[in-house]
């Protein structure tokens, strides 16, 4: 039996475990899809054909002898190219890192998925050093949105979202500092999970802004997202910020429903400067989850400013030596932003950290009597590749690319877990999908996945393989 592009990860595992197909067959057909379609989509910067087939054969041998090959047995996956993969140079979207030697070992998250039986088939395109919301990478070319090839996939984990949306793989990994999982998930119409800060190890990941960096999965179904998250979560001494707290599996409670969850819609900042389609998506999700209450979180614009300062300062610091020695080798889309970050006074950076602590406390107050908050993921669907610098939203001129993070930055600033759920068929968005964020208190990913599962069961959100246009 052949497994199609639309097969979910758990359907693949079931087909392999019941011998209706083999891991080799599944991985071979994923590699064929990548070969056939990625020349146009440009999701992959490296495809691991032989290694992937060898890994698939290992899964098949375990299944053949009656063993347990893991909860993701034979599932093809791919990772943003800032995750270390043993034997592969970690590009982090840059030309500079292309000169580095191959990684000695897998990043912790890559190793975790491989231990769960998943088969790594390649590495995915991104904005240079994760500094962007568009994946219009000058060195490696733009990743194209599978729903409309003339549009961006979002970023910085654009390859990760587009590869899943196009049905090249059912599962991928990305990173999120200001929205880099959630923005591309929304623009490509797939599910994306940014876990709580410190819930998933970042060991072996090229950091962008260490005090804001998270890693997490993309998938086309909630259950796939939850299986991947359960394989990824847990303590890791190799990542100094990884929480010393045992894993809390989400799969056992996934179908418990939401009757015990108090759900509210974020008002104020989160209901402004967005196209009507983005706000309509929120209303549709709110209705399905029975959320009639609105909550207002104060001073969100200040939080966004603090996130930008922390990101720019920490990001510039990581790359300061290269900025001094070889600035010409940076992507023109990041170079001057990194250099500006290097010049931010220490007092401003430290005040941003103080503001973050204060803002986290304000959010905790809101979550005292709410379990899940709903907000748009992006203010508009995917802009065209090479879009003008500014655009008009709600009568106000905004920076086209930067404004994509207007609703995501405040939550990553304070490390709260967020699932972006995909929604399509919205008036004004044409064939393009949008995303809605479900946000919970720290370490309450299970609540988010239960709410997302309810929305999926009711047909409110879905991530079908994209019908490519353009």
């Amino acid at each position: 039996m052949s497994v199609g592009a639309d097969a979910s990860a758990i359907a693949i595992v079931d087909a392999i475990n019941t011998r209706r197909t083999s891991a080799r067959e599944v991985v071979t057909s994923a590699l064929e899809r990548i070969d056939r379609r990625d020349r146009v989509l440009n999701c992959f910067t490296r495809v691991l054909g032989e290694v992937a087939i060898a890994d698939a054969d290992r899964v098949d041998r375990i299944v053949a002898t009656g063993g347990d090959a893991g909860p993701l047995a034979g599932v093809p996956f791919a990772v943003k190219n800032l995750f270390d993969v043993a034997g592969v140079t970690t590009l982090a979207g840059s030309r500079i890192h292309a000169e580095h030697p191959p990684a000695q070992r897998d990043a912790a998250a890559v190793a975790a998925l491989r231990r769960a039986g998943a088969v790594l088939v390649g590495c995915l395109n991104m904005d240079e050093y994760a500094f962007g919301f568009t994946t219009e990478n000058t060195h490696y070319g733009p990743t194209r949105n599978p729903h409309d090839l003339s549009r961006i996939a979002g970023g910085s984990s654009g390859g990760s979202a587009a590869a899943v949306a196009a049905g090249l793989v059912p599962l991928s990994l990305g990173s999120d500092t200001n929205g880099s999982i959630r923005v591309p998930a929304a623009l490509c119409g797939v599910f994306g999970l940014k876990p709580t800060y410190g819930r998933v190890s970042r060991a072996g990941v090229v950091l962008f802004a260490g005090s804001l960096d998270h890693v997490g999965p993309f998938a086309r179904s909630v259950r796939d997202l939850a299986v991947a998250f359960d394989a990824l979560q847990g303590p890791d001494a190799a990542d100094p910020v990884c929480a010393d707290r045992p894993a809390e599996p989400t799969i056992p409670g996934l179908d418990l429903g939401i009757t015990d969850l108090r759900v509210a819609v974020a008002g104020g900042h989160f209901a402004q400067l967005a196209e009507p389609a983005a706000l309509a998506a929120v209303e549709r999700v709110a209705r399905a989850l029975g959320a009639s209450r609105r909550v207002t979180i104060a001073d969100v614009q200040r939080a966004r400013a603090a996130a930008s300062v922390i990101t720019s300062t920490e990001g510039a610091f990581y790359h300061l030596d290269d900025l001094k020695r070889r600035a010409k080798d940076f992507d023109p889309l990041t170079r001057d932003r990194f250099r500006a970050g290097a010049l931010i006074p220490a007092a401003v950076y430290l005040q941003a950290l103080r503001f973050r602590a204060w803002f986290a406390e304000r959010a905790r107050e809101v979550f005292r009597d709410v379990d899940v908050v709903i907000a748009p993921t992006t203010p508009y669907p995917a802009p065209p590749i090479g879009a003008p610098r500014t655009t008009i939203v709600d009568g106000v001129e905004v920076v086209t690319r930067g404004h994509l993070g207007v609703f995501t930055q405040p939550w990553s600033l304070i490390g709260l877990p967020v699932v972006s759920v995909p929604i399509a068929g919205l008036a004004g968005a044409g064939p393009l999908p949008l995303g809605v964020q479900l946000i919970a208190p720290a370490f309450r990913e299970a609540h988010l996945l239960r709410a997302a599962a309810r929305l999926e069961a009711e047909g409110v959100v879905a991530a079908p393989v994209a019908a490519t246009r353009g």
């Binding site: 720019s312 001057d336 950290l353």
Partner: protein
């Protein structure tokens, strides 16, 4: 109020850090830095209680 930064300001700051800027690049860096400093006023001019710590506790 927007932050105003000249190319000369940026060149002096960069020199302090030992960050070379090739000819003609200071204007673009100044524009980026001015944007960050303007938005930073949203929190630098916002009064916070004295007991708010800037970062998590360092644990040796």
């Amino acid at each position: 109020m927007e932050s105003t930064l000249t190319e000369a300001d940026v060149e002096r700051l960069a020199a302090l850090l030992g960050l070379p800027l090739e000819p003609g690049s200071a204007a673009a860096v100044a524009a980026q830095l001015a944007g960050l400093m303007t938005s930073a006023r949203l929190f630098t001019e916002f009064p916070l209680p004295d007991d708010v710590e800037p970062a998590p506790v360092f644990r040796p």
